[in-house]
Amino acid sequence: MFELLKARILHGYQAIPDPLKAKINQAFPGVPRLSAGADLAALAKCCPVNAISDSGLDLGRCIFCGKCQRLDPEAVSFEADFRLAADSREKLIIRPGQQDYPETSIQTRLPRQFRRSFALRNVSAAGCNACELELGACSNVNFDMGRYGIEVVASPRHADALILTGPISQNMEAALYSTWDAIPGPRFLILSGACAISGGIFAESDKIRRSFASKLTVTLYIPGCPAHPLSIIHGLVTLMRGR
């Protein structure tokens, strides 16, 4: 009994006061910056997921392994900024010299009905459990996304959106389509993590089927490997309420 009381007192108040403005540890690799004269060809060679090309660094592929930054810290840096989510695939490509990333990344707004309540149904389609744990952590006492009216629901019938994690294995494709079909409209698709957005490190595997993610309209992309809870919450709340 006394242990429990002591534990509760030491626990104190754990909720992050404002997850949208939270300060994250400086070690966190968030929004990348490419210097204007970055040697993209050399960087592209070291990238394990082909995220770097002539046009820039693709956040939809990037697994934030830091290899490019360690190779050439002058050319690439990652700011400790978790506001990584975007509303279109094109916006995820960071060009050399680009400085305005999080400001214009989400301009879409959900219809007014979803301003204060948004129910998500997660399907893990071959996710490695890192994205799943981070999505679960969004509901814990620290991040508490319930304060914005966002919750993860058990049945697709109760969901407004499907939040997909994982690159979509051949074996999960049918179950993913049936879950999507069971969600009543209006419904939205959210992709969380590099695997869901682009196939990530599994993009080249012959056991991966990308048709679901490429055929349907995606409302929000949340980069990361895995996507950080603050990135997830920032993306969802911006989508619901605007900036």
Partner: protein, 475 residues
């Protein structure tokens, strides 16, 4: 043996002698770690008894079939199913031969489940998509009323073809892939993979102590995640919240070192990418001391709470004889009283004087209590290692050339149990095969056994107490 290391390839036996030898070893107390066939039609079997390893090499049987070992040694049941599926070798007499992870045709369905014609029994199917935020898998219960008579677990939904990607291109560039074998064990699998590369290239790693810190941080964090979820499953919400917040403290510590809450990007073949400067180490120690105290208080309170104990006690039992017969490892084996810990048998850092924790009852309580004990033990290891400076440059060295025709094995005690990686290079230095054995592959059967005779409503509790990986076994 030193771990990781390259093994001498033993003389190749004909297939009859190969299986005969396995039988003989198993009768003498050996237990299989893996059994598989390679592209050039050779069989490999790795067995162990304590720290004693035995590698066998044999030819494919010309009939493409062999007498199944499973009826006599159940620890082979999933290994033979894998072998059947990957190489088409039929284990004659296998009690329930069905695929492990590959689809028949294009859609993954239509598997036969064990069924009873009795009118007193009914079936309950769950999954692949579950109610919570977890990975997919299918559970088929055969119940008498509320009581589970039999559970069949069908996985494979997470199959990403990861082995094939390991075998392509340069084996030295796969650390990010290794971190995704199971994201919750990113450090455990990355460490096992690094060991393989270092053995194959004869590169002694730097920063070994930092690697052990990473591994123990992961163990603490994931055990806390399980304990928190167990509290949630029995509606002990205060415990659930206390422990979830404490896990956040631990994974944020990992983030402060390497930038990822899961320790992704921390390790690399030849060493580590991020060191721990003295100032950071001191901050971490003082923070973790407070965290440890709060974990102690929360766990002591939870594991003496009558409403928790009434659900944990005597639920989901796996006894020691069953655990050793089926070759279970890790938490499952240790909670049943078996002293099986790779940190003793195959130490990566032998300087630590280490006695594995065990429990004896083999139920949900034992597995929860054991996780608590292991957390406390891991803290002791951390504090010991964090005393000295840990950022001496360089932190890593580039792996050298790959030795051709070599077979390397690497064993790590992840938080779930023994992680085994095995790789062989061909004459030109390319990868002939890469094998990954997550403890979950074998341990899933423990869950199926544990729920027999339990109420079906206790299934989530039992499942969480084992906390097995879907993608780790589906690969």
């Amino acid at each position: 043996m030193t771990n990781p290391s390259c093994l001498e390839l033993p003389a190749r036996l004909n297939s009859v002698a190969f299986f005969e030898q396995i039988r003989k070893l198993c009768q003498n107390g050996y237990s299989p770690m893996t059994l598989f066939g390679s592209k050039n039609r050779q069989l490999f079997c790795l067995l162990h008894q304590g720290a004693e390893l035995k590698l066998l090499n044999g030819d494919f049987p010309s009939t493409l079939s062999f007498p199944s070992l499973s009826p006599q040694f159940p620890s082979f049941q999933i290994l033979e199913r894998e072998l059947y599926e990957e190489q088409g070798l039929v284990p004659i007499g296998h009690p329930w031969l069905k695929p492990v992870r590959h689809p028949r045709g294009d859609i993954y369905e239509g598997y036969e489940f064990f069924a009873s014609q009795s009118s007193a029994l009914h079936e309950v199917g769950v999954g692949p998509v579950h109610a919570g935020v977890i990975e997919p898998g299918h559970f088929r219960f055969t119940c008498r009323g509320e009581i589970v008579e039999y559970l069949e677990i069908q996985l494979g939904y997470q199959h990403r073809g990861i082995i094939r990607i390991f075998e392509q291109d340069d084996i030295r560039d796969k650390v990010s892939l290794a971190e995704c074998i199971a994201g919750d064990t990113a450090i455990g699998h990355a460490l096992a993979y690094c060991g393989i590369v270092e053995a194959l290239t004869a590169t002694p790693p730097l920063g070994v102590r930092i690697r052990i810190i990473a591994l123990e941080l992961e163990r603490i964090a994931m055990h806390l995640a399980v304990l928190s979820a167990l509290a949630g499953d029995v509606a002990y919400l205060l415990g659930q919240n206390l422990l979830a917040a404490l896990r956040t403290e631990v994974i944020n510590t990992t983030l402060s070192i390497c930038g990822s809450r899961f320790g992704k990007r921390w390790l690399c073949p030849g060493g580590v990418n991020y060191g721990i400067p003295m100032a950071l180490a001191q901050g971490i120690v003082s923070n973790l001391k407070k965290t440890q105290n709060r974990i102690r208080l929360s766990c002591e309170a939870m594991l003496s709470e009558p409403s928790v104990l009434s659900r944990f006690d005597d639920t989901g039992k796996v006894t020691a004889p069953i655990a050793s017969e089926y070759g279970f490892t890790g938490i499952v084996a240790k909670a049943a009283g078996l002293k099986l810990d790779s940190r003793v048998d195959f130490p990566l850092y032998p300087q630590i004087d280490f006695i594995p924790c065990t429990e004896c009852s083999g139920d949900v309580y034992a597995r929860a209590q054991l996780r608590y004990l292991e957390i406390m033990q891991s803290f002791d290891i951390l504090f010991m290692l964090l005393k000295e400076p840990l950022d001496t440059k360089p932190l890593s060295q580039k792996p050298k050339e790959i030795k051709p025709d070599s077979l390397a094995i690497s064993i790590v005690e992840g938080y779930r149990g023994r992680i085994l990686h095995l790789a062989k290079t061909a004459g030109d230095g390319s990868t002939e095969f890469y094998r990954i054995v997550d403890p979950s592959l074998v341990n899933w059967q423990a869950l199926a056994i544990a729920v027999r005779g339990e109420g079906i409503s206790d299934f989530p509790l039992c499942n969480k107490s084992f906390d097995l990986s879907y993608c780790g076994s589906d690969l």
